[in-house]
């Protein structure tokens, strides 16, 4: 896997982390863990406590609610944010549909992380706003 992209380089290319300086990026890359999930593995489990905040480095995942796929996620997308921010149990499953590498932060660390990097919080807020707009558009 010599072509495997270093986490830091990968994060540097993501909108979420676009405002960070190189030293900040390096700190972020070391703050997150890197986990791998093979195709078919569940990452987020509906109703299970203790999940995290995940940013996809490479691969694809599906968001499933009650057996129905409601969204697909790929590089640069993040998930687990709602349950981590609200301290609630996940309301959907997220399953790897292709081998998936993620940068992972435990839910307990997300608040502190976003306060330390407010530009990431702003980027995340915009992404959530787009997600909400798209849902409303779809519903309309």
């Amino acid at each position: 896997m010599s072509e495997q992209i270093e986490v830091i380089d990968s994060l540097a290319g993501m909108t979420l982390f676009a405002d960070l300086t190189p030293p900040q990026l390096e700190a972020v890359a070391h703050t997150f863990d890197e986990d791998f999930f093979d195709e078919g593995i569940r990452i987020l489990r509906k109703g299970f406590a203790g999940s995290g905040f995940y940013v996809i480095i490479e691969g694809e995942a599906a968001v499933n609610l009650d057996g129905k796929q409601i969204a697909t996620l790929s590089r640069g997308d993040f998930f687990g944010d709602i349950s981590a921010l609200l301290g609630e149990l996940p309301t959907a499953d997220v399953t790897a549909t292709r081998p998936l590498r993620c940068a992972v932060l435990s839910a307990d660390e997300l608040d502190r992380f976003l306060l330390a990097y407010p530009t990431v919080a702003l980027r995340m807020l915009k992404a959530l706003a787009r997600r909400m707009r798209n849902q409303n558009t779809w519903r309309n």
Partner: protein, 499 residues
């Protein structure tokens, strides 16, 4: 059984080949033998004990073995108090590390650990072919062919217990100029020197703690703030016994623990110049020091396994694995020992398993041996019946006492299958991820978990009609989960399943 000083397992064909005679390889071989699975155990080393022949550098482990535990060393429960001895079904073989400890610390010294492992290997009559180095790996139909320094081995099941003990350095300009942890000089050679230690995990803090009496000034630097075990509620954080340098930093004593990205290292006439850039507090910092040591961690010596198709992650330092420690991409290739941390499990609350250390991976080895025996070599594993009236007390006793559940929290579970026709059967200790994701008949699993606040409690997973639900039980100030309140809570939770 061959004696230790003979050279058993000559090259040839075996059902299973296990590579490595550190604690992971020894434990796997022990249980494969118990289950009647024929295998060859080979090792590049000249004796058992793996990395404990050399490390830790400062000669004392961070994992406890309590000589005066609340229970006898021959009891199963004692495994929670003795993190370093290998497991055995024979009580006489248990607690072998404690036996050699001199009482001056409840953390064994490196020689005490080594003696305990050697004694276990000898008493359990674990035969191995020492001085036999694995060189390359190839497929041959459904089999694998291992080329070693002694010749070729052919098998259908391969287990690599090769340790995550090879020096690893990040890609930093000039880092090749400085020694790694594994290349450390004796501590006294740091007397009166300014020393920069790269890394703030256990190996970095171990070096700093060991050099405190010698160095004039210590600077520990890495981009991420130090994670401490007492804050993360996990052994993955830097351990409390290495915290003296951290306290010195906190009190302004002259040693420093800094959050800084290391940009490059230069040689100077008298030492090194380390260029850094602050992360949590921005700013350029340049240090002129006499010595630099890279406490930057370790990688797995995977040899040609990635070329065979073994998928890796974590900067290629670990092979990706299934819940039963099989390569995620090459069926038939399994891992044991500290490399099993590549099977990450649920990692609830961000807390990893203890698979990086003996107290975690010794249970993985037993699970692995059972899995290999049953699924690949036709061994029938007995599953005892459990009377419905005993279920609640049994599960609560397990949550309170089972060393598997305490040492591998949220990772390994005690599982009971509930079948209307066949009754309730004890499925043994099973990876929690397998239980919650693989589906199966109605069943209940119990684990112990520590949540983000540090609260330790049992967690219950009830699978009914193909859907698994999680239910967290109450904690207890004395970690007694077999109280009448727990009994009532669990009885109520299981009512739909066992009635």
């Amino acid at each position: 059984m061959a004696e230790l000083n003979e050279r058993p397992f000559p090259p040839g064909e075996y059902p299973v080949v296990v590579v490595g005679t550190g604690p992971g390889g020894l434990q796997t071989s022990y249980y494969l033998t118990q289950l009647g699975v024929k295998h060859a155990l080979i090792s590049a080393d000249e004796q058992p004990a793996g990395m404990f022949q050399r490390f830790p550098f400062f000669q004392r482990l961070v994992t406890w073995s309590k000589p005066h535990a609340p229970v006898e060393k021959t009891e199963r429960r004692n495994e929670w108090y003795d993190w370093n001895s290998l497991l055995s079904d024979d009580p006489a073989l248990r607690g072998s590390v404690i036996e050699f400890m001199d009482g001056s610390s409840y953390f064994p010294s490196r020689p005490e650990m080594e003696k305990g492992l050697l004694a276990f290997a000898e008493r359990a009559k674990i035969a191995a072919r020492y001085g036999c180095r694995w060189e390359s790996t190839a497929r041959a139909g459904d089999d694998f062919v291992l080329t070693t320094s002694d010749g070729e081995y052919r098998c259908s099941t391969l287990v690599f217990a090769i340790g995550m003990t090879q020096a690893w350095k990040p890609d930093i300009d000039g880092i090749d100029l400085v020694p790694h942890y594994v290349e450390m000089k004796p501590a006294k050679e740091f007397a009166g020197k300014h020393v920069f230690i790269m890394g703030k995990r256990n190996s970095g803090f171990e070096l700093a703690d060991g050099l405190l009496p010698w160095a004039k000034q210590l600077i520990l630097g890495s981009p991420r703030p130090a994670k401490l075990s007492i804050i993360t509620h996990s052994t993955s954080g830097a351990r409390a016994r290495y915290m003296q340098p951290y306290e010195d930093n906190a009190l302004g004593g002259g040693h420093f623990v800094l959050d800084a990205a290391i940009e490059r290292i230069e040689r100077t006439a008298d030492g090194y110049r380390v260029h850094t850039s602050g992360t949590t507090k921005p700013g350029v910092m340049i240090f002129e020091v006499d010595e630099v040591v890279a406490g930057t961690g370790f990688t797995t010596p995977l040899g040609d396994l990635p070329a065979l198709g073994v998928k890796t992650f974590y900067q290629n330092r670990l092979p990706a694995q299934t819940p039963f420690f099989q390569s995620a991409t090459v069926p038939g290739v399994f891992f044991a020992g500290s490399v099993t941390q590549g099977s990450i499990g649920l990692k609830k609350y961000g807390i990893p398993s203890n698979s990086a250390a003996v107290h975690g991976f010794r249970y993985n080895a037993r699970v692995l041996a059972h899995h290999i025996a049953e699924t690949r070599h036709g061994v029938k594993i007995e599953r005892p019946s459990v009377e419905p009236g005993r279920v609640v007390q049994y599960l609560l006793d397990e949550a309170t006492n089972a060393p598997e559940l305490w040492n591998q929290q949220s990772y390994l579970a005690r599982v009971l299958n509930v079948d209307r026709a066949r009754g309730i059967t004890d499925e043994g200790i099973v990876p929690l991820q397998h239980f919650v994701d693989a589906g199966g008949p109605d069943a209940v699993a119990i684990t112990v978990e520590t949540d983000g606040t540090g609260d330790i409690h049992p967690a219950l997973y009830i699978r009914r009609d193909g859907t698994t639900e999680e239910r967290v039980l109450a904690s207890n100030p004395l970690n007694d989960f077999a109280t009448s309140e727990h009994h009532a809570e669990l009885t109520s939770a299981l009512k739909p399943l066992i009635d």
